[in-house]
């Protein structure tokens, strides 16, 4: 930056950084530094802090007429509730392949989207599904059942009604 021609300096005594260059570099680094800092902070913007969906925990009472192994799907929920001699259990109806809602039937569950099928215990028998249907936590509250569609329990977990 300095205007006059300087005598050649040795490697051991380099030209000091001129004051304006220093100020300029400081300004640029402050500018880009703060921009970078702010941008990294803003990367969190698209990540939902609170998931806007209704509670996955709900209360039901099983219909009296439910026979052993017959599926009861509470209205508006994607869980099938069963009752047999071992007790009550709930199996998620969301296909582990791509999230379609499987249809419970006497031979297990069928997925309409890509043809996955699952056994009566939710284990995968065919199609593209990578895993069996997860079992959901069931608990008793008086005469009612509490189903938690967010809590997975090991397959075979049944609750005595």
């Amino acid at each position: 930056m300095s205007g006059q021609s300087q005598p050649a300096r040795s490697r051991l005594a380099p030209e000091p950084v001129p004051r304006r260059d220093l100020l300029g570099m400081a300004a640029w680094s402050a500018f880009f530094g703060s921009l970078l800092f702010a941008s990294i902070g803003m990367l969190r913007l698209p990540k939902a802090a609170v998931v806007a969906s209704r509670s996955k925990k709900f209360r039901i009472s099983l219909p009296r007429s439910l026979s052993a192994g017959e599926a009861y799907v509470p209205p508006g929920r994607n869980v099938a509730v069963f009752q047999d001699a071992g007790g009550v259990y709930a199996i998620s109806l969301v296909c582990t392949h791509l999230g379609c809602i499987v249809k419970p039937g006497p031979q297990g569950f069928e997925c309409p989207c890509h043809g996955s099928h699952f056994g009566p215990d939710g284990s995968v028998l065919g199609g593209p599904a990578p895993r069996g249907l997860p079992w959901r936590a069931v608990s008793m509250d008086g005469n009612d059942l509490i189903i938690d569609d967010d809590a997975t329990v090991p397959p075979g977990t049944k609750v005595k009604a």
Partner: protein, 516 residues
């Protein structure tokens, strides 16, 4: 102005100026007069902000209709139609669940000309996807991606991805059954890396699938957050990205020396008969015979490098393609209405739930493995397409259809092989099922690695490597691979569109679907 004549002169001047105003406004806007000379034609192009993205002169090879088939211009024209109709639809569309569905219904049944505008938007989007794909095939088969045009090939690839993303995000907006379940499937494809992380038991520490899905949906289900995200992407972020890429794409055509043409284009074109005069109206130079030479005479009466003024030759061609594209979109919109199914129901999936037709080839692959069909195979295809100009550093056949070693016969042979391979693998998988049907406890990573999608891709890759060896040419291998993938795309798309019914089962015709 002298003071002795007083106010009258000033008033007369004012009157004359007022009368001259329209002429002067026109002259101020268009600095040159009517473009009757080549010089005026040139300045007509470079003096206009909207036209100056064109070259002033265009090579005659670029104007042959078989050079490009007008596909790039058709894609751009279709984009302009979607832009105009899309902005009009925004006046009535409300991006909120259920309300969105009713606003689309209003557009369809209540808003004056609303149905037509929506049809036009939908058909132009389809035409755009077809034109973009065909345009890419044209550039590939004429080897127009070669240096110095490699970067523009990459920009074009990015434009293809943005075009498909625009279609996909637009698909959710009507909030009907079709939209809801197509997006549910799409979002779960984004989550499909869990196929591997679950099998390895590391999902709780490393979950790229869950992260991607949540980024896309802003929630754990397709709901209001997902709708507003897709809306913002569809009407703002992706169109702006597309416009920016398009500007670079167009600009680079000029900066890369116009369209690719064969080295002997001038000889093949012959003399410039029947085109507008070039340079001046009358000759200002005379020539005399200085020597008798063999070969062609000097290019008397022709522009440099066998070019013609873009105004009007290039613009006439572009306007013709624009008109044809508009006509096709208008005709389709009059004949066929954009579909609208029932209101989205998160508890009952559409059966069969089908994505837009150009994604149904992928959906067919996804029906064997979500990760392989939805991410790995498409990822390899995009990566492979991007690498083509950097692997093929040859020169033979640039700018001619099916140029390079092998030529049209190689394309035909590869098409036969590609069709046979995809049909054989699909027929086998449809008839006998796949690993999970035979061994229910097969570990998922094995199925992710070995499924019809990866098997077809592998067969194609091996075939094209053999072609590379046989012709000792990377270009020949690229032609074989590209042709195979085109065949695979077409066959899988047809299977997905026509031969898949409820539960994604195979039916010879939709008429055989069980009633529902």
């Amino acid at each position: 102005m002298s003071t002795t004549h007083g106010d009258r002169t000033a008033l007369r001047d004012l009157w004359n100026n007022l009368r001259a105003a329209p002429r002067r406004i026109a002259a101020a806007a268009f600095r040159t007069g009517a473009p009757v000379t080549d010089r005026a034609r040139s300045s007509f192009v470079f003096g206009n902000v909207f036209l100056h993205i064109h070259p002033v002169r265009t090579h005659r090879w670029s104007l042959r209709w078989t050079t490009t088939l007008g596909l790039g211009v058709a894609a751009a024209a279709a984009f302009i139609i979607t832009l105009v109709t899309g902005v009009l639809l925004m006046f009535y569309y409300k991006p909120y669940p259920d309300v969105a569905y009713h606003s689309i219904k209003d557009i369809h049944y209540v808003v004056p000309t609303g149905r037509f505008i929506r049809n036009l938007h939908r058909w132009a989007a389809n035409v755009m996807v077809i034109a973009v794909l065909a345009h890419m095939a044209r550039v590939f088969y004429t080897a127009a991606y070669r240096p110095p045009r490699e970067f523009n090939w990459l920009i074009g690839l990015a434009l293809l991805v943005v075009t498909l993303a625009l279609s996909f995000t637009g698909y959710l907006l009507p909030w009907d059954q079709l939209a809801y379940w197509a997006i549910t499937i799409g979002a779960n494809i984004a989550q499909s890396p869990r196929e591997l992380t679950d099998a390895l038991g590391i999902t709780h520490v490393f979950d790229p699938g869950g992260f991607l899905r949540e980024l896309l949906l802003g929630s754990d289900t397709v709901g209001e957050e997902a709708l507003i995200r897709f809306y913002v992407l569809h009407v703002m972020i992706l169109p702006l990205a597309l416009l920016a890429l398009l500007a670079v794409h167009f600009w680079r055509i000029r900066k890369d020396g116009g369209l690719a043409r064969p080295a002997d284009a001038d000889q093949r074109l012959g003399n410039a008969a029947g085109i507008s005069p070039v340079f001046t109206a009358g000759p200002v130079k005379t020539y005399h015979l200085a020597a008798v030479v063999e070969g062609r005479t000097p290019a008397v009466g022709q522009g440099p490098e066998n070019t013609v003024p873009s105004m009007p030759h290039l613009f006439i061609a572009e306007c013709a393609v624009l008109m044809l594209t508009v006509f096709i979109c208008l005709a389709l919109s009059l004949v066929s209405d954009a579909p609208l199914k029932e209101l989205a129901n998160p508890n009952v999936p559409e059966n069969p739930a089908k994505a837009p037709w150009y994604f149904l080839g992928l959906q067919e692959l996804v029906s064997y493995s979500a990760l392989a069909g939805g991410m790995i195979v498409p990822g390899i295809v995009v990566l492979g397409l991007g690498l083509i100009p950097f692997l093929d550093r040859e020169h033979a056949g640039s700018g001619t259809w099916f140029g390079g070693p092998g030529g049209g016969r190689l394309v035909l042979g590869s098409a036969v092989f590609g069709l046979a391979a995809v049909l054989a693998v699909e027929a086998f998988a449809i008839r006998f099922g796949w690993l999970r049907q035979w061994y229910a406890h097969m570990p998922q990573p094995v199925i992710t690695a070995i499924n019809p999608g990866t098997v077809i891709a592998l067969i194609y890759a091996v075939y094209s490597l053999r072609v590379v060896k046989h012709y000792a040419s990377a270009r020949a291998g690229a032609v074989a691979l590209f042709t195979c993938f085109v065949c695979g795309f077409v066959v899988l798309t047809v299977i997905g569109v026509h031969f898949r019914g409820p539960n994604w089962a195979f039916y010879w015709s939709p008429a055989e679907w069980p009633g529902h």
